[in-house]
Amino acid sequence: MIDKRVKNLADAVAGVKDGATVLVAGFGVVGVADDLIEALHEQGARDLTIVANNAGNGDVGLARLINSGRVSKVICSYPRSGDYSAFLKAYRDNTLELELVPQGTISERMRCHAAGLGGFFSPVSAGTKLADGKETREIDGKLHVFEKPLKGDIALLRADKADRWGNLTYIKSARNFNPVMAMAADLSVVQVNEIVELGSLDPEAVVTPSIFVDRVVVVGTNA
């Protein structure tokens, strides 16, 4: 019997190695797997590369990982969001590297890896500082920049409901990066509000099919 449910948050993030690339879903504070990130903090892996849209808020989740000196690189589009004091301090102290990537390019690089492609040419950032050092090509008269695929060793995801196979549904704009990150990591771990019986999710409403999911843990009142 396929059963991707794990007992607790520690089991959910077990095995993450030092130096891992971690895909952290969410936009601002919405759709972020805060409990899984806290569990990764407890787990202890260091020298992490984080891929996210923003760079953490206050001193919880991703910001706490940064404050604890566990992050060596952040790949994101917009670190200046909310209370990003943890990131700002590390940035000014030069203890972490920032790779700034246009927002749509981040998700497309992950989608590209998920689709088994070796990269893509995009007109976004052509002729700007963010394209410095990248291969370019003129396609139909328009300058394009070569972007490489981006994969995670682990993705930390947040969804609403799952079944034991790992089919997922989301809530409103909390969907954001979760589906594309689920597809782009070797190990996709999801915190959900509820696990329901196999067959009770409407097949037309499932956004992430189980093939992209490895571990599911319930967090909250239904745990």
Partner: protein
């Protein structure tokens, strides 16, 4: 010197930009003044707003107490979904932007050049990390890029320049600029003033604009409703 003309307020600039949004258009609004444009779409006109975090059919700000923690806009503020609105994941939200499916992108800017080059993502302040967000995707991908910005900076220096001094977001993308003093079209034949506020002259406007301005034959007064002037 007393001004013989009155610059538009933020709301009036947003109102003016909103008048140009056509029926049935899919529109992305940038953070700041562009976001205000959603409130000024003429009654009876259906315009669908897109939000980069995965919303097509973005609605107005929720009533106090009705905020949903799972529903925010690109500025991370609570928002609503209109009837018929849908959600999509992030890669599809940017496919819509990059792939030319968005009809109009209204953006803020630091500088715009006479060639339509846009600089709106970094002032290169060494004390802070840069952030680009979706600015470059929007500038490259939307069918029409229009900018809303004050005509000059706080010191009165022009922000419409021969060449941008700040790093570019994208080259040659801006086609129309709404400022607090005028509406200006960027064309292969140069910059054309299509509207100016009452009391403004081409000479006065030229004095605070670096590249050469021409007055469009059909130019009009830029006259938003006075009620929004306060």
């Amino acid at each position: 010197m007393t001004l013989s003309y009155k610059p538009l307020t933020r709301e009036q600039m947003a109102w003016r930009a909103a008048q140009d949004l056509p029926e049935g258009a899919f529109v992305n609004l940038g953070i700041g003044i562009p976001t205000l444009a959603a409130s000024f779409v003429p009654a009876g006109r259906e315009v669908i707003f897109h939000s980069e975090n995965g919303i097509l059919g973005l609605g107005p700000k929720p009533e106090p107490g009705m905020e949903d923690p799972n529903l925010t806009d690109a500025g991370k503020n609570p928002t609503t979904l209109i009837t018929g609105g849908v959600f999509m994941h992030h890669a599809d939200a940017f496919l819509m932007i990059r792939g030319g499916h968005i009809d109009v992108s209204l953006l803020g800017a630091f500088e715009v050049s006479e060639a339509g080059d846009l600089a709106n993502w970094t002032t290169e302040d060494p004390a802070f990390p840069p952030g680009v967000g979706g600015a470059m995707d929007l500038a490259v991908g939307a069918k029409a890029i229009r900018v809303i910005m004050d005509h000059t900076d706080k010191k009165g220096n022009p922000r419409i320049l021969k060449h941008c001094s700040l790093p570019l977001t994208a080259a040659g993308c801006v086609k129309r600029i709404y400022t607090n003093l005028a509406v200006i079209d960027i064309t292969p034949q140069g910059l054309f003033v299509v509207e100016m506020v009452d009391g403004m002259t081409l000479e006065r406007l030229q004095a605070i604009t670096e590249p050469k301005l021409q007055l469009a034959n059909s130019w009009q007064a830029l006259a938003p409703p006075e009620a929004m002037a306060a």
